[in-house]
């Protein structure tokens, strides 16, 4: 397992550099170079332009430029200075936006995977019923719906028509006037508490699994652990002075997360269903039936566990959908994340920010692939053995 992870990690590392080199190529393919952007300005004398070309290293051979590009992006953490909000550094802009995108991306992926798997499992079990047909039609609608239009409809329905949720944005400015906390610090604390709950729950699960062998008491202990952790987190936030601000941020996240989840959930449902239908034809399902294993156990333990494998693989292919959906979601809900930074930079012709945002989205996608691969190896022993 460790060997497999190390190998995948090495591959991802190499791919990251190839990706960065590709970004350089993209910049280099443009007509002229970056200093040309300033040629139109009559206030800049020609000598200054020569100095600028030398300072930016544009007179050096391409291979040296590529080396600088790779070095600055990976080790120097230097992605240049933004043009549209000079003199802010690109890294500063992007790392402020990063947690928001990661939050949107992770919650939507996890929620949609969980919900989609559950629905797909039940639907496959009841093949041919009205429930199955209606779920299928709904899923196909969500899967093929034009996402920006759907997001606009959701925004209109929940924010404008019902008025339950705010119309986009990350915070309500009026609430935050005079606030002793910055929005980002509150948000990061929220993320930390979610991460802490997940981590402690994982450790507790391991401990519980080691201590008991009875599946039923294991399941009960898992539930007790999860709910008590959630209770601890709730109490922590209820007595924290940041709670109104945290609630405000939470209130703004509901509709974007819901929209992104609904669309991705449909894909997982469709896949789980077909994967489940294939698994149900296997001989070991028949054997389990013949043995008199309860139907729910056959469904959850024998079929669904094995049907999960192709769904996990497809998670990798679905990442593209989540990332594209994330960019559009951020744009429509004015969610100040990486995607919005990218679009804003493209509209403002702010090349350093655009390239930085693309690189960072690429890194996110690489990491997500790595996680999916490791999960897959964890679920399927064959992958581990083959290496």
């Amino acid at each position: 397992m460790v060997k497999y992870i190390a190998k995948r990690f090495g591959q991802i590392f190499i791919l990251f550099y190839v990706f960065l080199a590709l970004l350089f190529l993209l910049l280099d393919l443009q007509p002229g170079d970056i200093s040309q952007q300033f040629v139109g300005n009559p206030n800049i004398p020609p000598e200054a332009k020569v100095i600028m070309v030398r300072q930016l290293g544009l007179d050096q051979p391409k291979i040296v430029q590529l080396g600088h590009h790779l070095w600055n992006y990976s080790f120097g953490m230097d992605m240049g200075v933004s043009w549209s909000s000079y003199p802010r550094e690109v890294a500063d802009i992007l790392f402020t936006a990063l947690p928001r995108t990661v939050f949107l991306f992770l919650t939507a992926t996890v929620l949609s995977f969980w919900l989609g798997f559950y629905t797909g499992k039940l639907v496959a079990w009841r093949r041919g019923t009205v429930v199955e047909k209606s779920v299928m039609v709904t899923s196909i609608f969500f899967w093929t719906v034009f996402y920006p239009w759907f997001a606009i409809l959701m925004l209109w329905f929940f924010a404008s028509q019902l008025g339950w949720f705010p119309i986009g944005k990350f915070i309500t400015v009026e609430t935050w006037i005079g606030s002793p906390f910055s929005a980002d610090s509150v948000f990061i604390l929220m993320l930390t508490s979610i991460a802490a709950v997940t981590l402690v729950y994982g450790i507790l699960r391991l401990v519980i699994d080691r201590s008991t062998d009875d599946p039923r008491s294991r399941q009960n202990l898992h539930r007790i652990a999860l709910w008590s952790l959630i209770a601890v987190a709730t109490v922590f936030w209820a007595f924290n002075s940041r709670r109104t601000y945290a609630m405000d941020i939470l209130w703004h996240t509901v509709v974007p997360v819901l929209t992104l989840t609904l669309v991705n959930f449909a894909g997982t449902t469709l896949l789980t269903r077909s994967s489940m239908l294939e698994t149900l034809r296997e001989d070991y399902i028949l054997t389990a039936r013949a043995k008199g294993v309860p139907e729910s156990t056959i469904r959850d333990r024998h079929a669904a566990r094995n049907a999960m494998l192709p769904v996990t693989t497809s998670l990798v292919l679905q990442l593209a959908v989540v990332i594209a959906g994330g960019v559009i979601t951020e744009q429509i809900f004015s969610w100040p994340g990486l995607g919005r930074a990218l679009l804003g930079a493209i509209t403002a012709e702010d090349i350093p920010v655009a390239m930085g945002a693309l690189a960072l989205i690429g890194v996110l996608s690489l990491l997500a692939h790595l996680v999916a691969d490791i999960t897959y190896a964890f679920l399927d022993p064959r992958i581990r053995v083959q290496g």
Binding site: T144, F146, W149, S160, I323, A324, I328
Partner: protein, 378 residues
Amino acid sequence: MADTLTPPTGELENFDPQRVVEEPLWRVRLRLGWRSFRRNWALFNDNKMGVVGLAIIALFGLMALAHPILMATIWSNHLEGGKNVYDIRAGADSIIVTKTIVEEVTDPLTEISQIEAMFLGTGVNIPEIGDTIESPLANPAPPVFSGVKHPHILGTDPFGGDVFSQLLFGARAAFLLGAIAAISSVALATLVGTISAYFGGVIDTLLMRLADLVILIPLLPLLIVVSGFWNVELTMLGILIGILSGLGGTAIILKSQALSVKVKPFIDAARIAGGGHWRIITRHIIPNVLPLSFLYMMFAVTGAIFTEAALSFLGLLNIQQSWGIMINIAHTQGYTLEGFDVWWLMFPAGLAITLFSAGFFLVGRAMDEVVNPRLRKR
């Protein structure tokens, strides 16, 4: 021992070369093709969703054909201010009508509020209620549903263009883009997949690592950056999407199919008969991979249409008119939160994109059952 070597008797003795009707080879091929088509159609027909998808595609095909015909006949001479009202872009934005200044606007087509009139006028005199003023019909007046002088089946957009005409034209643009993207993507994927399966070794490793890289690149963000740097048009976008999606996942799937074909005995037979690499690939492997290629063509169309519409919606493409641009215009002109009140701005275009994608998706799923026997119900 000797009698084992004699040819089988019986049938051969009655064999009369005169009785054999010479049938040309093309007719044999056509008959075989027709037979396999009928068999596959029966399988395809089992899945009613696939038939629905086919009907949707046919409907959009009719729409795409209808646009140039309507423009040449019924819509040909509805000129207003030198422009055709039904033109996809020009529309009625040049129509100037006389509006009465009133306190409360009940009919935005003939009336205008005092404040709006102030902005329209020269700004010196405050316009009196009851006066008339020359005002453009469509902008800044809200989009209308019914026609003023010319019938607009689906109303007009914020610039006064006819929504129905734009919708029909959008079908044409969608077919064009879908065809370019799907054909280039699948052609590339088939070629890469079969070459890498057939030759193996270094070529295989290189092409498959390239495929890994392409899968990892987030397509939409990359295209956003590309469209920011260059002037991307419909054809170029189609080819770009085709290359990026063709080198990735589809190539890997088609390669695995080509691998299973490559080990079949008839490939060895072809090689022993003296067939060259190129001939074996084009005549023996590719025809056997083709059904799966067609399947992925359907899914490639769905992906391409979504990407184009998303980029148009974000206002990054340089194309004349498409469904994405219709939504973009309604969005940027501030009709995002109007919902059903101005349904004709976003619903026709949004539903068109959704249905178009759904049509190809459904046909793809039904074809999956034809190509992949494990999925069949029988």
